[in-house]
Homo-oligomer: 376 residues x 2
Amino acid sequence: MPFPTPPPILTGMNGLQFRKSVQAIKPYVPGKSIEEVARELGVNDIIKMASNENPFGCPVTAEQLAPHIQRGSYYPNVATTPLYEKVAELHGVSEKQLVFGNGSDEILMMLGQVFLSSDTHAIFSQHTFSEYEFVCRVMGASFTSVPTRDYTYDLQAILYAIREETRVIFLANPNNPTGLLISRQTLDAFLSVVPDWVAVVLDEAYAEFVTSPDFASGISLLDKYPNVIVTRTFSKLYGLAAFRIGYAVTAEETVTQLHKVRQPFNVNQIAAMAAVHALDNAAFIQRTLENNEMGKRYLYSILEKLGLEYIPTEANFICVQLPFSGKLAFENLLKLGIIVRNLASFELPNAIRITIGLTAQNERLGTALKSLLSRG
Amino acid sequence: MPFPTPPPILTGMNGLQFRKSVQAIKPYVPGKSIEEVARELGVNDIIKMASNENPFGCPVTAEQLAPHIQRGSYYPNVATTPLYEKVAELHGVSEKQLVFGNGSDEILMMLGQVFLSSDTHAIFSQHTFSEYEFVCRVMGASFTSVPTRDYTYDLQAILYAIREETRVIFLANPNNPTGLLISRQTLDAFLSVVPDWVAVVLDEAYAEFVTSPDFASGISLLDKYPNVIVTRTFSKLYGLAAFRIGYAVTAEETVTQLHKVRQPFNVNQIAAMAAVHALDNAAFIQRTLENNEMGKRYLYSILEKLGLEYIPTEANFICVQLPFSGKLAFENLLKLGIIVRNLASFELPNAIRITIGLTAQNERLGTALKSLLSRG
């Protein structure tokens, strides 16, 4: 059955017409994996201190997940697991204030989908997680990246960047890759003057690692500021990065909108059940937090001995300033079997980000940095 | 530190400004899960023939996935698994022609992200998978849902719906929920007259179940029509719906664009490895296909005996016409412990979709339908 040719409506287009705002996106370059480095170097003893993963590994066993793998042919449904209940209890919020995602990355994209389009605008800071700009580009929204002051968010300048089309302000707290905190008092003062029609997304991927008494999670401010949206992840403290699960905590009205753009089967069932088991593993959580404090002190002392500047961190990584490029440090540490994060893509060309590791890993990094500097 | 209030730029807006096209989305209502029905009815012996899942269950064991669960604290990276290589080999394409997603649902959204925005248009058919309309709404694109003729795609009308702003035509082949095929000859004739600047997305979620010799996968037509994009899933034949993994096969140029909108960690590592193991399980695949043929014949004979009309299927489900509403059938079959799909949301109010099950399940369904009709 040949079709009659449709009327020739167009001649000017050659080949597929991709969206312009998408073509401008630079593909994200993730940190190198241990497998890749091992293959390239031909060695086995590689440690990864690049992506802020949990150095104790995964807190959940195959045995715990076996019943859910066995039922793996069924479509997932987080509502059939205890996850809503457990997370609601953890934060003292209603289950109706929660939305789960395929990592908090997906939650951030869903926020873009409910708020951003080509006629709107978003604001984030320089030296921060690249996902916010990515979300803006995918949704075709314009955006302002506000310069930092001494690596710190310039919240005053962020306020002044708000315009009629602004729909979202993205703030990581603590910030990635600096580890810096917006204090409770500053956050409250900031939120009190942000117009209530602008959503303030507080990306709290590292909040569980904060030790400063000056910190307030946005969750504690939701009653006062319903335009606040908090995102959290199971990829860091809870050691489940491979599984992909994160969530938003916010006002019910916003949750209703997020559910509209949520793909019905966005969260895999194995991840949902892994998250349930991870929340129950109090010993793992405590061990992780204690190790992070100990490792932080140790790395501070090493960095000070080596005369390297660093930003005191409230997260599970340290941003280290170098007398040479982060690229050079990355490449030379790689040769010693240690993967760190070169911060050039964060507009910090002379810095690396080091995930706080286990004692032996931190010591090996200390030795490697020392040899690197003595050669420098 | 109190902030000076920013200049009062706006007064007309009250509260968060959600995108209008999103507010219009009706939340997807997934098929009921066995757990939900068991809870509601207080019984245990529930069978689900509603979501076209594999009746043999999951082909992958917890033991096989154990090493990957143990490494579950690391961010996922499909490129470190043999999945690209295996799928490329399966289809005789280059690895550069593949993109993996969090289910083919995510692939469809990524296609929306690279092609659709508020100034563009997409086309799909009436009586088809709801995801295509969902993608259009999330991206704010306009769309035309072209009426079917006798439940069949009206490809001529689809051609005439193409306009300057059209960027994508979505076609499920075989179609869900009808199980109908676009034949090789018809597809070729259709593609030969679609302008090369319009992407034709062939959603082949059920392609592995096709037995008609008249079928051609879009993959075999990629060289001839580089504007074709094929999507596939591991949720049906491969029994991995809970894990979330699907993929696109298309021209390298389109893959490059899809990688730009792809979240870097969109596919969980457990799913990627489960897919590798599922591809290796030839016995499971063969058993599934044989059972589907046998179950199809059996259900046809039952439906004919009961005098029920059905659409001969090329998939793992059957669309059955009823002398009463699909809602009524759904509710009454539910009371007998059988979950089917009411097709009201597909604009087929007097029809249900039945997943072809195991022999005992098909028999139980046959008995239930008989009792339903005799009571009717």
